[in-house]
Symmetry: D2
Subunit: 133 residues, 4 copies
């Protein structure tokens, strides 16, 4: 099934939490999606670097949209993130989600969060697929 | 070492991302911390329920503050969350973090996110301890 | 539904991999199960301590049996383990699994691996429930 | 630093738990390693399929050897596995570990467990690096 591009873009734009975080959908293919931010003051932790919760949220959104490109709606049941490096104010950060396995009830999805060539975090997610859509 | 209560509370209040999410520190003991939110419109996902990224962020903050009550500063290197249920607009959600093991370089921390008696999510985290403070 | 004790004990005894590892089922309650080993030479890693794979396997079995006490059969879809300490030859190690949430399709389960009072590892697992039994 | 091939192969062969599981080291490059099994009766779970604990152990060994090819010795502090499919008696299963990030104190490592073209499981691991060697 072909991804319904506009529906996906709307879904991300309709996501209130994603909007508050200024997360933009920038790429969409079958089983894949990328979202990006420019690091703003409200994305920072007390150390003055990008908060891990922002990276986890970007990964969750990129992976959820990747699942939706397959014509499926699901919900995250497990989200695991390894944090490797961080980013600073004004830097551009991208989260690329990709479906690894698309089963009947369960999808396995992964995401790389990076800044240029540097990997900042790697996430894996398990989605429970509610229904075909 | 006794927790320096006021320093902890300031650390959470100085957390720009936590502030944007209206996360409040509500409890603090040695090796333990609780943070809370009332679910607001900007916390929601496209399904109209509490975004998993908010729960993951609350868990990250509650666990990070729990580590700081031990007089240590660290950074999250792994954050794993199992999502069990969600919450609706206006509901009160609490994340209780607790240090399970406090080693020389690594701390193992856990968190329960709940709404009243209902568990919404369970997180585990690994912290790399930068230095004593 | 009451756990069928003998069926559970048989299931563990019929588990070829568990048998090879000398894993014994030692406790069984609704939603809970404990399995134990005495650390034998074939459980060791090259450092001469208990192999992490043994602890992960004990956790997987203890959690899977805990799910079965609820009258359900499932399969592990996510297994996450934080390793805190290890054990030596001849020591007694116990893994206690406990169902945290028992949903229609998904169960969330946790496990503590310990030696006496010392926690060696903490695992969380997600089970996909195949059918009632 | 170049990997000391023979030392690595010995490390795997000296691994008592790996030996009991008939795990063979079959490939070794800088930051990468592959281990394989042919599924034997003692690798099975009560459903008659490859036990998840075997896959988790293969991943742990493949990732640990991948870390050692960098001239470092470490220990697993987090091991996360998503199980996607399983294997049957007599099938050949390979686990390919790869270091994603090699830091001063922490390495982030990943592993794909597969049977031919089919992915059976994906693991991520965090290693605490004890010392250079």
């Amino acid at each position: 099934m072909e991804p319904k591009i506009q529906e996906m873009i709307n879904a991300v734009n309709e996501n209130p939490f994603g909007k508050m975080l200024n997360i933009e959908l920038t790429e969409l293919n079958t089983g894949e999606s990328s979202v990006e931010i420019t690091v703003l003051p409200h994305h920072l932790n007390p150390h003055g670097t990008l908060h891990g919760g922002v990276m986890a949220t970007m990964a969750d959104i990129a992976m959820g949209v990747a699942v939706r490109t397959l014509g499926k709606v699901g919900m995250t049941i497990n989200l695991n993130t390894n944090f490797i490096a961080t980013a600073l104010l004004g830097e551009r950060v991208i989260a690329r989600g990709k479906v690894v396995h698309d089963g009947n009830s369960i999808a396995s999805v992964e995401c790389t969060v990076s800044r240029g060539e540097d990997i900042l975090a790697r996430s894996t997610g398990v989605w429970y697929l509610l229904k075909n859509k």
